[in-house]
């Protein structure tokens, strides 16, 4: 495999995030190759390298983007409505991360993981609505990248 230029690698990473922000979904290898006028093999290599560097994470055994935090590539119970679109966040923290990343107002809809009670939060002008909701971090920071899905 030819070594990809660093600039191209980060250009692809930036495109993936821009695509997520614009569409709420991750770009496939083919989407990225077409939009950036690259060979499919180059994008495959870049996705693998960016996964290796924790810039985003691929679904095991595929080149499908599972997570580009705070965005999720699959539907989750953490819904974030912003800029007229509904995004899926990877977790409670990332549901707040989406309005922070987009610099946008947002409505967050999720549920208490034990009781199932609805949880609704809103962000307006970078201010979070009052709430006594708690967020539990299961694993300490030093273990976050050992098993990201479990984390």
């Amino acid at each position: 495999m030819a070594t990809l230029a660093e600039d191209l690698l980060w250009e692809i990473r930036a495109f993936v995030y821009r695509y997520f922000a614009e569409t709420t979904r991750p770009p496939s290898v083919e989407d990225t190759a077409t939009r950036l006028t690259l060979a499919t093999e180059e994008v495959v290599s870049a996705y693998e390298e960016l996964h290796h560097r924790h810039a985003f994470f691929l679904r095991s055994g595929t080149h499908d983007i599972l997570m580009a935090s705070p965005f999720s590539g699959v539907e989750t119970p953490f819904h974030v409505r912003a800029n007229g679109k509904t995004y899926f966040a990877n977790c409670a923290w990332d549901s707040l991360g989406i309005p922070a990343a987009l610099h946008a107002d947002a409505e967050i809809n999720a549920a208490c993981s034990q009781s199932g009670h609805p949880i609704q939060l809103s962000v307006k002008a970078e201010q979070l609505s009052k709430s006594d909701v708690l967020i539990h971090f299961l694993l300490p920071f030093r273990e976050w990248y050992n098993d990201l899905v479990f984390t």
Partner: protein, 71 residues
């Protein structure tokens, strides 16, 4: 990271799964953390963070317990 309406619901959730208590933050604190963690995530100049930079964010937010450390 999961939402809970109360400490009691969190305890029930942990007990049911027999997993250890991690760290609990208010949603306001996590919003503050999110603003530091994610505000530049869409920038083409964002190329990730070093561990030292991450620890710097935690320190600014007074997240200084062992849970937030690398040791």
């Amino acid at each position: 990271m999961l939402f809970f309406r109360s400490e009691e619901y969190l305890k029930q959730w942990l007990d049911a799964r027999r997993v250890s208590h991690g760290a609990v933050l208010s949603v306001e604190k996590v919003w503050e953390l999110s603003q530091h963690w994610y505000r530049d995530r869409l920038s083409p100049e964002y190329h990730g963070r070093t561990t030292e930079q991450v620890l710097g964010i935690f320190k600014r937010l007074d997240l200084t317990s062992e849970f937030w450390g690398v040791g």
